[in-house]
Symmetry: C2
Subunit: 302 residues, 2 copies
């Protein structure tokens, strides 16, 4: 990825380096017995796009005076939640996936019991990090803001699980576009929105116009991300994707290309992308970082 010179890719690479460092700092702060420790590091440190932390940082960049420590903790916490969901999603009783990010999935490498517990502990570790003094460097903790972040994260995590259930229920059935959107707003959209809102509450308060604008942006970008994911599952090959391509069709999942056709799905991704960009207009040049990520997400190949 470092060989690419595209500006939007570079922006995400920078965020990836930041979060990689902070994830490691956070993980190293925990005392976890083996073999769980190995499984937790495996689940978290293998890589991935780190889209949620990148959205967190880019939202925080709307105001350079933000509470940097609270944003860094939020980015780690949300990535822990994402990694827990992947470890559990891959389990034999769920998607039974053997490959993730080009590596053996957590249960293949460490066994089902340990993979289950790795997902479990990553969830509580996310809340531990959020409520900790990590990255604070002596600054005072703003309890009302941390509490808001916890509320956002907990609600989004529950929604994510609800979305997984809706998704499982829809397998092999015909769902319409409204039902499909409901699945994805919960399954992936909620956590992507949470990444944005957990940074937003460190800058703006509830009466600010910025909050509804960012919520609008989050909804559009979250859905765009999923539509693009569905498209990539069809057009990308396994090597570039780092996971088994074509898997959705194999298990008869409801997807946007299946529902709308590939070309119309691509158009829909474009429409959502424009909605996201329009919501950011309110912030003018301050939204440069968010715009770069938006661009990256639509153009990504994996």
């Amino acid at each position: 990825m470092s060989s690419l010179t595209d500006v939007s890719t570079y922006a995400l690479t920078e965020a990836q380096e930041r979060i990689q460092q902070d994830l490691l700092t956070a993980l190293d702060a925990f005392a976890i017995p083996e073999p769980l420790k190995g499984a937790v590091y495996h689940a978290v440190m293998l890589g991935g796009k780190r889209v949620r932390p990148a959205l967190c940082y880019a939202t925080a960049a709307l105001n350079p005076n933000q509470n940097a420590a609270a944003v860094r903790r939020a980015a780690v916490a949300i990535e822990f939640i994402h990694c827990y969901s992947l470890a559990h999603d891959d389990l034999p009783c769920m998607d039974n996936d053997l490959l993730r990010r080009g590596q053996p999935t957590c249960h293949v490498a460490f066994g089902e019991d340990t993979a289950l517990l790795a997902g479990d502990i990553l969830q509580s570790m996310a809340f531990e990090v959020l409520g900790s003094r990590l990255f604070d460097q002596g600054a005072a903790v703003d309890a009302p803001i941390v509490l808001k972040q916890m509320q956002i994260l907990a609600t989004a995590t529950s929604k994510m699980v609800n979305g997984q259930v809706l998704d499982l229920q829809a397998e092999g059935k015909h769902v319409n576009q409204e039902q499909l959107e409901n699945i994805h707003r919960n399954k992936t959209g909620a956590l992507i929105s949470a990444a944005i809102m957990m940074a937003a509450v460190t800058i703006f308060n509830g009466t600010d116009q910025a909050i509804p604008k960012l919520r609008e942006f989050g909804l559009a970008i979250g859905l765009a991300f999923q539509v693009q994911d569905d498209i990539l599952d069809i057009i990308a090959d396994t090597e570039v994707l780092g996971k088994t391509a074509g898997k959705d069709q194999q298990v008869d999942k409801s997807t946007y290309p299946a529902l709308l056709g590939l070309e119309q799905a691509k158009e829909y991704a474009e429409t959502l992308h424009n909605q996201a960009v329009n919501a950011l207009a309110y912030f003018g040049d301050d939204a440069t970082e968010l715009l770069k990520i938006t661009q990256f997400l639509l153009n990504r190949k994996s």
Copy 2:
């Protein structure tokens, strides 16, 4: 249980009725799609001793002016965490238990995937409840106290998972008493202590002598609970226990009776019980409710 007239049993029955009502109120506040909803209600509403909520209420009774809503939320949250851990513990890749509280376990009744997700969502729901306005009736939220409760709950939940790993690692191996205590302080003790401390922070602040005294009490009672559990696994029959008795011996688990012999394990439970009672002396008559529970826990038959 209502036919028994023993005072200490009555105290727990009262707590059981309170928590049963509050758990239902909390669950009903969530929108969960089926079949997950059924699995979550199954995991939470089947009953159980409700020891952790009872400890929460009894600790709050140390001061009648406590923040009632924050205590009620804490009791619900900690029971959600406990129920999530049972749903995951019973899974085929873990203990593979078919029977819990005299009923089919969650995965037997709802399938492995739904039982996994029920445990997952109960964890995030616990943090949602803790950060919510549930039971508030218009009172203001004290963010620093809620934040402390979240820190306590998150840390204890991670410790519980670490304890499960230590327990799995110890199967079929000889462990000494120090290692066994380390397992149980994490696996069951942490959550029992958390039940006490989440109520304690609504009453006392960090400089108060009460906090270390309650911590001492929590450590003793948590360990006493586990020692008694090990003893009951040997002497109780499956019908009274509501789960498969003798299971520990079947899977060659390290237990206190296995390590110390049955009689010495009983003596050790008594010693821990006395430690717990001594720690409560600081509170005088205010600790009546905590003393009743302590008595109940040592005398319980299931």
